[in-house]
Symmetry: C2
Subunit: 297 residues, 2 copies
């Protein structure tokens, strides 16, 4: 919902992404104006289960307290959990206190220890991890991944061969079964491999670092900031941001499925040149703009 | 630039107004997304001379630190002064500090003592005052007014009658002059009354209070919040906001030139009913929407 960098443009708002995964809805980063973007895109405020904030530069969180206030006024009662860096709790609470605001729901702000990898959320189907990025202030990337699923039962064949219902569960888990008469039932004969568990990593803001490569190894989709082009590599290093080439280097070394680039500096009119430069290092890449929707399937 | 109330809608953003007066440019309130609106309307960030914040509810200032950051990145060097309620300095400085931000210009935050009327800015042509509003937390209204101007010299007539240049200054000030030969020169004969000094008052957020009437007496243009309609007068009183009728009552009792109403609750589709209800009390009124431009002349 926001593909811009620190200075928003007419078409690029500050960072924010809406993530839907196995029935869960997450908001990653919440730059200024995110609540207006949510409305613009016709998304449902109350679907948000958790919010993840990478770091405390304004273009990644200045929309947060406004959003929290709006979902209160729209009637939220179920708790909201926010994961973000140390200091976030103090900032949010100070703004709510000074404004005399009381929220109608419980707000839980869980601060992420810097420089470590940690599991932030986990249920039976998915998991979200934080991992360190390398920016001017403590910053985390987030990895959202589906857990491996069970094999798919070949139901018609199983029924035809008279395989009993009670064995299905073990076959789907990939176990061979011996039936009451001592016949071996091979799980491969009655099940197909499960749909591949998908994964998505979000890296903004960071300069190139081999630890980032380790953190996003083999993900299906990598969002990586590409604030600058090669011609401004000095600026990238000075501000601890990445060039498109650095983003592509991470993608290539981590062997990801696809790279999408955002957080483009307002100085560039389009992302075409970012794709040109990145493609020389990693082919399957594109830049994103506000409103893009990407489905992993 | 923002005519909405706490919950923004697709067409009403949080509060912000761009004021130009005698070559000075002021921003009054700076709700979330104001910097995007400034860009959208093609206004120049660096023209802003001063910023005035009414109170610390998020819909009136959540765009402030983002704006301060953007004007830094766009190269501002001349100082910026912000006038706002107590607590503003702490909030702004905390966000800049936690974000590791250093601004390339001096930022002066002058906090306004609550419950008092004070002169915030004055030069030879205009003056800006703060006056108390009556809301849930300390809130100020602002009054921007031109100073009385000198009378207009009737240059052709003065030249024709041989009035010396050196007397013009005193005649324009409204003084009669005796020339070297002892002739009386009547200022009314050689000057016309000056253009009327214009005034504008901004009242958001507040419930009806007779002290507000005193503060905005005789202004040419009054912006007054009209969050609710009569049917929701209970809500207005409970939240210390105004109905359109209350706004009109202030306008009528203060004998203002014209009333414009904003800060309309997101529950109303248009402001037509606000105008209906207000008109019963004060005729010359309308509601505003984002992007409206009003010229006082």
């Amino acid at each position: 919902m926001g593909s811009g960098s620190a200075v928003p443009t007419g078409t690029r708002n500050p960072s924010a992404q809406w993530i839907e995964c196995n029935g869960r809805t997450f908001l990653i980063d919440c730059g200024e104006g995110t609540q207006m973007r949510i409305r613009e895109y016709g998304l449902k405020f109350q679907k948000i289960d958790r919010i993840f904030i990478t770091h405390l530069h304004g273009d990644h969180y200045f929309g947060l307290v406004g959003l929290l206030s709006t979902i209160h006024m729209l009637g939220r009662v179920r708790p909201m959990t926010i994961h973000g860096p140390e200091g976030l709790k103090k900032i949010v609470e100070m703004q709510l206190t000074i404004g005399g605001s009381r929220l109608g729901y419980d707000l839980l702000i869980e601060e992420i220890a810097p420089d470590s990898t940690s599991v932030l959320f986990e249920d039976e189907k998915i998991r979200v991890d934080a991992f360190p990025l390398f920016h001017k202030i403590p910053t985390n990337g987030f990895l959202v991944r589906q857990k491996p699923r069970q094999r798919t039962l070949l139901a018609d064949k199983a029924r035809k061969d008279g395989i009993k219902f009670e064995y299905f569960h073990r076959l789907k888990k990939g176990e061979d079964v011996e039936d009451e008469d001592g016949n071996q039932i091979n799980f491969r004969e009655y099940t197909a491999p499960p749909p591949r568990a998908k994964s998505y990593a979000y890296c903004s803001d960071t300069t190139y670092h081999e630890k980032v490569v380790e953190s996003v190894k083999n993900v299906d989709l990598l969002y990586h900031e590409a604030t600058f082009l090669d011609v401004h590599e000095d600026r990238a290093r000075a501000t601890k941001h990445s060039t498109a080439t650095m983003a592509a280097k991470v993608a290539a070394e981590a062997n990801v499925g696809k790279l999408i680039m955002g957080h483009l500096s307002a100085r560039y009119d389009s992302g075409d040149e970012h794709v040109n430069e990145a493609s020389a290092v990693f082919k399957n890449c594109e830049y994103v703009i506000d409103g893009d929707e990407i489905v992993l399937d």
